[in-house]
Symmetry: C5
Subunit: 359 residues, 5 copies
């Protein structure tokens, strides 16, 4: 739940105020610039956004990627260099935004959710990826330690695929494609976890199963909330007329859109499965209660009357006082007769239980 809360300004703060975020990830900042056209390619590590000035205003595509915790002053430098809107800059710093796409006059701004399995805590971690697209620039942000865009950089360097022959919009597509496709391994991990739990649960449900199911349900809930709006974002990219995106590139965004739908489909199936497992858990518990009760009822129903019977002959009425007082005690076949009665009653009850289908 932490992903969502604690990420807001004090109510009443002036909008677009850039303040240092309260919760830092502690990842040192690094600024990577790539400038490319079909023919040329330059790659630089920048000390400050200012250093990118020589590359601006040219026809080549300029891609600046900022990894780690960003500071307000770096954001405002970037804002001035590329003409970025201050409301968008605020959303980059206050990570934990809902995936969305905002169109401004001279660029547009997107935030996406980048899910990742944290192997240490066995939980899913979400990072916010922020992206600006202008006529010939892309500015991207990722707050975590791990830079997911390294393979894209590799493809740019080696001229793999179409990426060097196309504009900034295709670059944006490649980045989105990476972020969205990172959802698949996360879902695969989740699917395996659920299948493991399923076999365990169907074998023998324990109380810890319940905790696990509750935790997993919340995880899926969170993941759904975070990934659902991405579908909408991609849909907007495919359907709407947007100035910075080439009609030919839209086919690729449509492919991305299909991936987000596949991810949502999987999430829905997982959610239904986990809900189904909760039902199975509850039914199993009920069933076992029933089983226990059956054993108890059978044992108690057989032995309680017998105990009463032997109690009768344990009474200290004596024949001496009255001929009415338990003459059976002194019959020659009294004791075997009692056993006969008891055995018959046991057999009778067993037949009764068998008819009632209790075992």
């Amino acid at each position: 739940m932490r992903y969502f809360t604690k990420r807001y300004h004090m109510p009443g703060t002036s909008p677009g105020t850039l303040t240092s975020p309260k919760i830092k990830r502690g990842v040192p900042l690094s600024i990577k610039l790539i400038d490319f056209s079909t023919a040329d390619f330059s790659e630089l590590i920048l000390k400050s956004p200012q250093d990118s000035t020589p590359f601006l205003g040219k026809a080549s595509v300029t891609w600046i990627h900022i990894q780690g915790d960003v500071e307000p002053d770096i954001m405002s430098q970037l804002g001035k260099l590329f003409g970025l809107h201050h409301l968008a800059l605020e959303d980059v710093i206050n990570v934990g935004q809902r995936p969305k796409i905002d169109t401004y006059d001279e660029h547009f701004f997107m935030t996406m959710s980048h899910p990742l399995v944290d192997k240490d805590s066995d939980r899913i971690k979400i990072d916010q990826v922020s992206l600006f697209l202008g006529p010939c620039f892309v500015v991207s942000f990722h707050p975590g330690e791990h830079d997911p865009f390294e393979p894209v950089r590799e493809r740019l360097r080696n001229k793999v695929g179409r990426i060097r022959y196309r504009g900034a919009d295709y670059l944006l597509y490649t980045l989105l494609d990476v972020v969205i496709d990172e959802g698949f391994p996360v879902l695969e991990w989740l699917g395996e976890e659920i299948e493991k739990m399923e076999t365990e649960l169907l074998a023998s449900p324990t109380h810890s199963t319940l905790h696990w199911l509750h935790k997993q349900k919340r995880e899926l809930l969170m993941l759904r909330r975070v990934l659902w709006p991405q579908r909408e974002v991609l849909n907007k990219l495919v359907r709407e007329e947007t100035p910075f995106i080439n009609e030919a590139t839209k086919i690729y965004f449509r492919d991305c859109y299909d991936h987000t739908i596949q991810i949502m489909d999987l999430l829905e199936i997982y959610r239904d499965t986990v809900t189904g497992l909760l039902d199975v858990y509850l039914s199993s518990i009920s069933y076992r209660l029933n089983e226990n009760m059956r054993v108890l009822t059978v044992i108690a129903t057989i032995f309680i009357p017998l105990t009463f019977l032997v109690g009768v002959y344990g009474m200290n009425f004596t024949h001496a006082d009255s001929p009415w007082a338990m003459p059976e005690l002194h019959w020659y076949y009294g004791y075997p007769a009692l056993w006969l009665v008891m055995i018959c009653s046991v057999i009778g009850m067993l037949i009764f239980f068998r008819i009632k289908k209790w075992f």
Copy 2:
């Protein structure tokens, strides 16, 4: 539930009748006027709405804020001064309206819900904020003790941000922003309450947990009903052509809209979590019933047959009367043999329970 009911007129009353509300909050009325342009700034506490006449009809933006219980005659004075519609005036007095936006020819009228945690009763309190926007005036109403707009006034005085350079629509945005963002601390408080309860519940569910869950569910229900229409209101402000709102200001309303969506997302997650906790509660209760039953069944199943057995040898059949009468009692090893039988049956049952995985 009280928030909704008891706020209606008698059916059959003439529409637009301004009557003193039945339930007063007992907050003394105060009328604050601010008139500003980029250059000028005046701030006044008014005794009566009439005192604002000198500021009307000028190009500068006039903002009148009325805090506390309003009386019908003050409303009708305001109505005449600014040309406000009598149906809107009625809705200001009858607080508890659903958030909505009504467009009239010469102004538009909005009501919003302002949630607040009442620390004394640990419950959420909702106040209705009413707002009128005309070409160069804003009239706002808040019935509670606490004036949430003080930070805005501060920013106006100190020329912080863009607020002094823009028109009445930007002022309206700032006020909406404050009201909506006040939802975040309320949700944070709720989130912490839910997390506290969650750890408690997973440790050991008690009957009071159920009452708490029921109360919280109702609170969330109420909050949802009250905040949900705000989304629609903001959406209308962003999408529709409205005469009093500048196209450039719409970007800011879009930001507000995003906040309302984030708040609704959080509410949904909380609701799903509370529903999930109810399931956990029920399952835990079932599980514990099962546990109890298992102990009872094991104990009863082991000892009831044994009690029967020792009952047998407590019977007063005497060997004297018949050789059939419990000769075991007089065997040399009769007593140890009985113990052997009993111990074997106990061991047998324990093995049976172990196979059935009962402990």
Copy 3:
């Protein structure tokens, strides 16, 4: 459920056939006519619809209200006088229609649902109000004993508000406003009933609670089905171009529309609350079962082994026959030792239960 059924024609009857309704309310028919313009005002009790002929075809607004059971011949007279469609006339007689609005060439026809608490049976009763609006006439029908439109008549007589200065459409609005606002006291009554039950249920659930919840759920279900379409009807009045309604009057219909939404909101909250109470009921029952079981388990687990133990020493093995036969019986400290063993086992079990948190 009776509200809906038994109100249909035999399948195969010719459409628009006016037949006397099968179920009559037994309310004597009364026809009230009011004809007004800003200057003039006449009020009459008519014997037959025919008597209204002098008022027709004038510019003044004519309002005919028919209270009580209508007969086919009165309907057909009205139909001829005002040119009403025979399908609409049929729907007036067959009360129990879904709220709807039908536009015909020369008038339009509405049915609304008028809810009322029947204090005798503690149930909600629904009456169908039918309304025709033409260019300068309104014809209204109410089948019950109580005429809800008396306050409107009073306002017309006394020239209260705008009603005398406006046309037939404003009169229609006033009537709708009355019918819709009658929903508020009904909901208030329901809300109080639910709150009463809530405190009762949280204190101690009994079996009659369940019956009450079931009954209330059905009542809410019915109310929802009957009131929900009114929202749609009002929405149609506000949004669509309709020839008989002035653009300026639409603001008032918008206000009515807001009221229907508020009523639906309240109904939803009530429904969710009643559903929540059912969950609370079930959980309470489970919880109490658990409590019972715990007491039984504790008592049985403590005493069953002890009973076995004292049973052992009640056996009639005699030391005389064998030194193996219960020598403890003859030990000097045998009896106190047995008590020691028993007390220790009780203490052990109590510790075990305390660890398991059973009391």
Copy 4:
């Protein structure tokens, strides 16, 4: 479930292939022709569709109704005579279609569901009614024994209502009206069944109640699937421009549309009621379990300790061996003292149970 399945062609069959249906109803085929205009009227029983040739191509309305099992060759004759599309002909033979409306160039084709209570099996039976409408002909099909259109024929013969004065579209409306209105008696029957079960269930739930509820839920499910699309079909007829339907007749189709909505409303209420009854059933069972447990717990808790106590004094420790061995046995007031102890413990427990509110 049988209504839906077994009605498909082998996958891979050529579309529009007319084959004899696998499941025949065994109803002999009869072809009834009526040809009418305002002035003229002829009624015939045809041996073969060919016999209708003299009536085609005239301005009068020709209505052919085919009752019973149709054979492929009759269908193809009809197809040629009226120019019907082969896909539509296929759907007439393969009854069990979803209600739908298909527009072809020269006619349109509808299928409707005709529900009927089968009094013998206490179940609801669905028949498919197929209808073709051309410029001046209607061809209708009904596979069952009972011809629902007899009252329409009667009205045609006797010139009742508007039916003889209007065209083929009004005839179609009359037929639809009959088919849809036949839903009302079915729903009335269902409503009475549900009410009967409700009183029974609230009095004393048995296991057969569950079976009944399950059966009824499935029946409602089926009915809903079969009737729901009719609403859509009627809506299409009312809203869309269709060449064969006069604008003036649409008012009548709107009335039919209202009936389908009323039927769906009733079905929804029934479904919610049956679901509510299932909850009541489950809660009643839980409640009774609780009651049983309470009795058992009270009895066991009172008598198990007492049984232990009397067991103690049944032990064979003898005073002779040790002064410690149960001296109470030999006290003068030992026996009454024991009873005192036992009575006190019973009273104590009863007070405890009373405090716990167990009876």
Copy 5:
């Protein structure tokens, strides 16, 4: 669940990369070509896609069907021959796509789901069918062993129906029709399985029923996810303007669309039925628990007090020590009197249980 996962590229791979799929079905590849016009017909088995060159560019319709595992190089040959888009080619190899339709400039691309009952494992297997439609060619892919299109080929050879007289769009329709109609036998199988389980469950629920229900629910879930989008695909084909599909053929696609809706209807009914069966299962378990408890309670409540009573007279108080010590033991009618008391108490309890309706 396996159907969905493991079918994605490594995040970061260049889009449109054709790599050999990780999971192969092991079905040898076969390429079947049919080229036909109304007059001509040729059928060939190709070794490589290249062999189809003589047939391209002619007015006749060319249909290439590829059965079995496809290799990247075959895909790229096909891509070059017919000008297919590389994103579409990628989706053919990575089977497990959601049914969809993508329009490209010179062709369009569809994927459909082909369900099949795997009789060995009693589970439903899904195969992806991929289809390309160009102006006069169709390319189809099926990865499984069984070629579902053989009947179509037969109809082409024998000139059955309209297939030889129409273009590539009608051929596409025929293929879609086969794939969609294969859903019916699968649903019929499922329906029979559910009915079988239903009778079994209503007779006597066992724990394996629960596993079966869980499995079936997942199967239905999966089937629904896989078949639901087909409806959307067909709807798009019917509604939208598409260059490659003749207006006259759309009537046939509308028929296909009806079939997808019928299939979804059936699936919904099955899902609701399976959910209903889970409720029945749970209720049955509760009911049986209740039954067990009733027997236990009756037996225990009758015999526990009696056992106490006979325990009393088993105590070793002796009359010798005190006249208070159980004088009843020595009464002449003591023993019969005790039996009288016991029998009376049993009868009393039986009457009590009968009143409580426990048997």
